[in-house]
Symmetry: C3
Subunit: 363 residues, 3 copies
């Protein structure tokens, strides 16, 4: 990502002007030295920063296998404290961030229920987050409010305590750390198969509302010749903006509803859940059974392909598939913890210390 405008100038723009900037300018404002300071959307990452982050996650994962290694990691950020502010239900993202903080010695505090907070007393969301910035050194947030993490990052950037924000999912738009763990899972799985370049990735299920699909699809444009398949009921198809982004990047893609027909052709299948918690009463439900992975599909899946799911699942993948070595979703969840450790370490500029430790003790 090239320097386009002076980041300090961008930070001082009023929100109504900042909001209208294009994503490359925003990335400029939120990054420092090529890495995210605030992590808000996946476009802040390029291939270099993605590969470095994956390498770091792998080092951390190996360091954490020994007691001295865990002790080393635990000391890295033991002088810092993190606020996990999750006003939308979450287990996986919340807990993997919580565990990631613990690995680095970063002491976590949490607010998960708006009913215990000052919002009850009529406080604005902006004031609530600014308050957190008074007490903590990092805010990890999930909010139902679209664009809110971005707004908070911009607000804090011009305050006296510009602590980093990590977006753990905002509204229907973005979920950058989910995309990072998906990239890490693909990278690990295809490590000995030339990596992610040239692979075919199929997305299945709720492509319209699932923010993980949008974020991963975007990050995959950093790799060469990755072909994308969007396979689902037309009412759940991916939004046109996501495809425009692929068009601009010159990415080959397919949009249709022939799930079984594509299974034998692809290297990775990314199943997703129907997000009916967003539904309005009266909506007609989609028959998800047509887009579910059943045990018999294991027969037509390529031997070296992988089956992914951001979890939680319902019936999209039969429990009987769990023991197949190509079922990657449990490892994917654990990858999420490692990549989040790596991201937080990068945010606080201790990545080099970790690489050094690895080089001296484990390489």
């Amino acid at each position: 990502m090239q320097t386009r405008r002076d980041p300090d100038q961008l930070k001082r723009l009023p929100w109504d002007q900042f909001e209208k900037l294009d994503v490359a300018d925003k990335a400029q404002a939120f990054n420092r030295a090529g890495n995210p300071y605030h992590t808000i959307f996946p476009q802040q990452f390029d291939r270099d920063s993605l590969e470095r982050l994956c390498r770091l996650a792998t080092c951390i994962r190996r360091i954490a296998k020994s007691r001295p290694g865990v002790d080393f990691l635990n000391r890295l950020l033991s002088h810092k404290r993190a606020m996990l502010y999750f006003t939308q239900p979450s287990s996986r993202t919340f807990l993997s961030f919580y565990a990631a903080c613990q690995y680095l010695g970063l002491q976590p505090a949490e607010v998960r229920d708006a009913a215990t907070s000052s919002e009850l007393k009529g406080e604005s969301g902006e004031d609530t987050l600014r308050t957190f910035s008074s007490y903590f050194d990092l805010i990890i947030m999930r909010s139902p409010r679209q664009g809110f993490a971005e707004r908070v990052a911009h607000l804090l950037s011009s305050s006296e305590r510009p602590i980093p924000i990590i977006n753990a999912g905002s509204g229907k738009d973005q979920h950058p750390t989910q995309a990072l763990l998906d990239i890490y899972t693909l990278q690990r799985s295809f490590e000995r198969l030339d990596g992610i370049d040239g692979k075919r990735v199929m997305f299945v299920g709720d492509l319209l509302r699932g923010r993980t699909v949008r974020s991963l699809s975007c990050l995959l444009t950093n790799y060469r010749n990755v072909e994308q398949f969007f396979i689902t009921d037309p009412r759940l198809q991916v939004a046109p903006e996501a495809l425009h982004l692929l068009d601009r990047a010159g990415v080959k893609y397919t949009v249709d509803d022939d799930f079984e027909g594509h299974i034998p052709k692809v290297d990775a299948i990314y199943m997703t859940r129907i997000q009916d918690e967003w539904d309005q009463a009266g909506d007609t439900p989609v028959d998800i059974a047509r887009y579910s992975f059943r045990p018999e599909h294991l027969q037509i899946l390529r031997p070296q392909a992988i089956l992914m799911h951001p979890l939680p699942r319902r019936q999209e993948i039969a429990v009987e598939c769990d023991r197949d070595p190509r079922a990657m979703y449990w490892r994917q969840a654990r990858n999420g913890m490692w990549i989040r450790v790596a991201l937080i370490a990068t945010t606080f500029s201790v990545a080099d210390e970790i690489f050094d430790y690895y080089r001296m003790n484990l390489a």
Copy 2:
């Protein structure tokens, strides 16, 4: 407990076969080297493991009196992290486990409200727990679902991350750590009176639904000549299975409703609360006043007898009794913390380190 079947074979049984095993086989599957790895039900303990656990709790309690002692304990498991998953209301059990983890440096995370979790999104309980196993090294769980802790322990045993499960109360069936703290309280109280052997223990109150009574009654069969009294309204009497267990163990017991008549005869009175949170609308309430311990009862209680209660209490024991030295329930609560520290230390095989420290510094 003798080896009966190969534990590895037992672990690989499908759940529907495992479920039907008898309790000794299950204990075999869940124990390692005579101690629980997964702690699911009280039958996993025999007299040796109970006595060792009580000794360990006492060592820990004394070590924790000094600053260097606390520092020693805090380092023991500082490389591990625990998930406390409590989807049923709990203060005492939750907090004493939480404090127990803190004593060992084991970093705790908690999920107490199903509304903040993925169950809202239709995830199965099994998937939720398997997810926790991705991020943590120990799961302590309380669930309203009967047998669920056992099911999870079995599920994880055959997964890639077979981390230990501690059952902190499941459905109406078992609450093993409550029984352990009760044993520890009896053992401490009768330390200079020949221990638990030969004592008379009276259970009063809600013997039908109170899982603590069932668990303690079962553990007491490990001691010699302990006589048990089940004294309450017939509608709240202990379930026949609990008595069959005593019959098989050759234990002498009495079942009636003459509370005052028995007070002068027994060494320990175990009062319990009517668990009306399980009641259906329309049930006829029991008059608990007849089975309440009032200040005048202190006159007829033996001088060396003790008065126990798992807490929380309502009117079963008058507040005026709290200052009597035979009222043991507050100490009992604190014993709960120490025995849980001891149990977790045993689970992670650091008990010997603690015994060594004690021998070198305090014995």
Copy 3:
């Protein structure tokens, strides 16, 4: 504060007698060596203890700027554990206490939702708190029940584990640590202007129900010639008892509703929020707009005056005022964390260690 009665005797009084003691006697019972052991109400502080606490907070704030400083603080109470029991909604107070505990290495546990606790099972509040005292070394509590923190402090004083209680807000009556942070903010702001003595402080908004106003007004009587203004709608005016207290202390004050008229005259404006969470249905609402600080008021505010607010705010202060250097409310929030670190350090008698570290490393 002079010794008036034997504190040990006071502790042994039954609650119904203790409750009727005057505030100086109660302060006697709750203090140790001139500093609060239990921190229940602001009258426990005199000018000496306030100034010492402010000096300590400033030392801590400066020590915490370096990594070795944070490490030093983190070790001070790493052998202790705190329970934060907040059954009333709170963000700011809760989180700043939480962060304060973390700064001292004091491991926090929390109960914020009565629904996860034993109160559901019919336990008395006194039993619940006594249970916490079994597992923790400090209880920080906020309760909707008036006088409850005082009652708990008295109850524990005569128990086997008389651990300290800090009142983080009880009912409508007192909120001593908020008053402490307000004093600290005034002291820091007027450090080079002869301190708090001789200043004019104006209270605006909900003076009837806001417990912060009552607590700060009371603490200000420890300073010389501080003039107080109570400016609001007559229906929200400060309670007569608060004015009687000022009368007895010989403090000059003004009670009226001329907000704009007083702005140019005062050194500090303390805005507060209408606490309509206490309202009964059918109450007539007050037009708060008349008592709101708008950007144009910055023109008539003295150059060295400060604008305070305990937060959360609604429309009482326009967001446009936030960047004015006299807007002190965000710094005030952060001061709250530092003064709470100082208070906890004082409670556990590690203040001298901190002063020594400061003297040797930073003075």
